[in-house]
């Protein structure tokens, strides 16, 4: 093809403090192409696309769209130039309608009224043309995640985007939905759109893209035509070194440590968890697989003592655990790894030692008649840093300064140090790079070997497969019957994640 690229980034560099997020990155996108931008978490993919779209301003380098330089830092200029972006965290207002969300920014702010009728017509037309049906008058908050993504894509199409950037578009979709999305994207390229999608999942890059650009540590390390490469090569290029994730060894499970029987959690009129049952036995990992937003957050809260069962029973170590507070759980030797380490797991403004002891600060070893035994706390924290290889930390380091992986090691450490009987690990490796993922997996497996009962809640199929002895799928707040890891092939799990398990026997 001799036509000039529709999009050209050259020499993009962006620093955040000492961190170089993008280091002299250049890449181009051709007309009608489906380009994958592959990289680990933290490789700089999202930063790059945010620069392209004008959310961030690059420290140096420029972006050209259809031959013209885009003024930096102006999303409006990017939109004008025909670039549309579908963010990983949707940029939608939940309390407003689909049409409102699509129309915002498309009309002059000085107008006396809004031309909603022609807008609705255009939206419906676009939705039909690309197979992205959605009710224009529906409230965003009433839509499923998949539907919200459709709205995001429609927003860009409505603005006549000719280049579409999708940031981790399948993160919130089931395999089936994801396949359908890529089908839609392919029809889009046929109508002349050019697309970039950001991903760290090798299989979808292999399946959907025509060309791959691989980012590592903020740099472009390679570029391949998809037809000329394979998963193994991409994996090595992406990670840069051989990191082997540990795998579970067979081991006989012991007695049931934690169980839920017919538990429901409701909030107002909404049912967040619907009649779920599971049991976790000593020395085994029970994996709960599911697409984001299907009740994992509530299940995590329930088992961490932050939500109460409206119905049903929880037992821990033979006693009822219904109505257990976080404090009760910590006292009865439960370890809890929260879903979001930044908002729940640790307090960035506090020192590492304070975060290390926060759950246990009332225990006599840290508490001398109401006063904090600072020496004991610091010693304990130093011990965690040593044992769990928390890099770049001393007890007095500000926790905010730790990398995601090291912060997660601190959270793991404070939970595992006291050999818990039961561990909840909710999305324990979300957002981590391969090295850190392997470290977390190693620790969890070691805890399993030591006899802990582990409830692993994850959206990452590879993770669940590698670690779990038994697997249950979570869909719309309901849990499937457990399947032994040996019987769980990817087709069966795919069906379970789509909610198709009814009528099957418990394994």
């Amino acid at each position: 093809m001799t036509r000039p690229p529709v999009l050209e980034l050259s020499g993009i560099t962006k620093r955040f403090g000492d961190l170089v997020a993008n280091d002299d990155i250049s890449l181009s996108l051709n007309q009608g192409e489906l380009l994958a931008l592959l990289g680990e978490n933290g490789a700089g993919k999202t930063t790059l696309m945010n620069i392209l779209f004008g959310h961030y301003t690059a420290d140096s380098g420029e972006v050209r769209a259809f031959g013209d330089v885009l003024p930096p830092g102006k999303p409006s200029a990017a939109i004008e130039a025909g670039i549309g972006m579908v963010h990983q965290h949707f940029t939608l207002a939940g309390n407003l309608s689909v049409l409102d969300n699509v129309m915002i920014g498309t009309e002059g702010l000085g107008l006396f009224t809004s031309a909603r009728r022609p807008a609705r017509r255009k939206l419906t037309e676009l939705a039909e043309r690309f197979g992205l049906q959605v009710d224009p008058e529906a409230m965003i908050s009433d839509l499923s995640v998949g539907e919200r993504q459709r709205v995001e894509i429609l927003k860009a199409l409505y603005r006549d985007a000719r280049v579409l950037i999708l940031d981790e578009p399948t993160a919130v979709l089931t395999r089936i939905e994801a396949d359908k999305l890529f089908e839609t994207l392919r029809t889009m390229t046929e109508t002349g759109l050019s697309l970039i999608f950001i991903s760290h999942k090798l299989h979808e890059v292999m399946a959907a893209s025509s060309r791959v650009v691989i980012l590592r540590g903020g740099k472009v390390v390679a570029e391949r035509n998809t037809a000329d490469t394979d998963r193994a090569e991409l994996a090595e290029l992406m990670v840069g070194r051989r990191v082997v994730r540990p795998r579970r060894q067979d081991q006989r499970a012991g007695d049931t440590v934690f169980s839920a029987r017919n538990v429901s959690v409701t909030q107002g009129e909404r049912t967040l968890l619907d009649d779920v049952s599971f049991e976790v036995r000593s020395g085994e990992i029970l994996g709960i697989i599911g697409v984001s937003g299907n009740g994992q957050a509530t299940l995590g809260k329930l088992t961490c003592g932050l939500a109460e069962a409206t119905q049903g029973d929880l037992t821990f170590d033979g006693r009822t655990a219904k109505g257990f507070t976080p404090h009760d759980l910590v006292e009865s030797a439960a370890g809890r790894i929260p879903e979001d380490r930044n908002t729940e797991g640790a307090i960035g403004e506090m020192a590492v030692w304070e975060n290390s002891v926060l759950e246990r600060i009332s225990e006599p070893r840290f508490n001398r008649r109401g006063f904090v035994n600072r020496k004991a706390c610091r010693d304990y924290s130093a011990e965690l840093i040593r044992r769990f290889d928390i890099r770049g930390a001393t007890p007095d380091t500000g926790t905010r300064l730790l990398s995601g992986g090291n912060m997660q090691k601190m959270i793991l450490g404070r939970n595992l140090a006291s050999t818990p009987k039961f561990i909840v690990a909710n999305q324990p490796t979300r957002g981590l790079d391969e090295g850190a993922i392997a470290a977390v997996h190693t620790e969890l497996l070691a805890a399993r070997e030591a006899g802990a009962a582990i409830l692993l809640i994850s959206e990452d199929l590879d993770e669940v497969n590698a670690l779990s002895d038994r697997i249950q799928a979570i869909v719309k707040g309901r849990l499937s019957a457990p399947v032994a890891a040996s019987e769980a092939d990817s087709r069966r799990i795919g069906l379970m994640m789509a909610g198709i398990w009814e009528g099957e026997d418990a394994a």
């Binding site: 976080p326 910590v330 809890r336 908002t343 797991g345 640790a346 307090i347 960035g348 904090v372 905010r400």
Partner: protein
Amino acid sequence: MRLERRTQTPLALALTAPLVAVAIALALSGVLIAIAGANPLQAYYEMLKGAFGSRLSISETLTRTTPLVLTGLAAAVAFRSRLWNIGGEGQFYVGALCAAWLGHSIAAVLPPVLAIPVMMIAGMIAGALLLLGPVILRIRFGVDEVVTTLLLNFIVLLFVSMMIEGPLKDPLAFGWPQSVAVSNDVMLPKLLSRSRLHIGLLIAIAAAIIIYVVQSRTVFGVKSRAAGLNAAAASFAGISLGSTLLVVACISGALAGLAGAIEVTGLKGYVTLDLSPGYGYSGIVVAMLAGLNPLGVVATALFVAIVFVGADSMSRAMGVPSFIADVIVSISLLTMLVCLLFTTYRVRR
């Protein structure tokens, strides 16, 4: 141009921030003084003279510092746990009213050694109870405590007015609306003879030290700080937000109530509707200027007291309205907010 979080705050920056803030505030207020037709430098000199020029003025400044330390601590303690107690003024008045009533009625029954602590504690309890209402409303119904504490200030003032014109009216006050008086033998002892300075100042400084120790050394201090910094993480770690907030509210309200009790038993002897020239509100400024640090509160309370006492005498000497004190203090609050921001953020292109 945008703001970027600093990874670390240089100590020098943290220490100079309040000084820079005050300097900018004085410069801006200087413009107003010039507009009023006076030389700003001379005016500030007059203010310093008014605040420190004589034994009397020093004692007046310190007397004025006393309630500001306590209302400043009340705000600092609450704000640190993200409890927006703007009701210091109301809590001050209920504390004062309680102390006046007891000071009038129990003096005959109890010896001063007992009566004085009883009055102080009663004032503290009254202040704490007044703040508990809004805090319970916040915990139970999600009602923003800013508005409720503000509205309560007006209700309390009306209540005080009702009391000092009604049941607690001083029959000997020639019809003036003023409360019954604390009997002389249970007034707080003087710190300095032939002055109005009383031991309330020592009580206030002791309170600041105690609060500092509680915040930095105790388990409760760590818990309440965690709750203020990140409520989700704190409750995940098993810290009960509700009860932490209730305790913080009790401490905060008690400090403001104590301020009122001390002002009555140490200085005025009775309650009128102009007992406080806005100590509750100034306390917020004192706390913010100190970066919510309890020991810093003592210093910033002194600063605010200097401004107010100094402005009065400057006003007499130079004809600049004494409201300039309020202007200086309020601009300081705003400039301090900006300076504090730049200790945690820096500007990037």
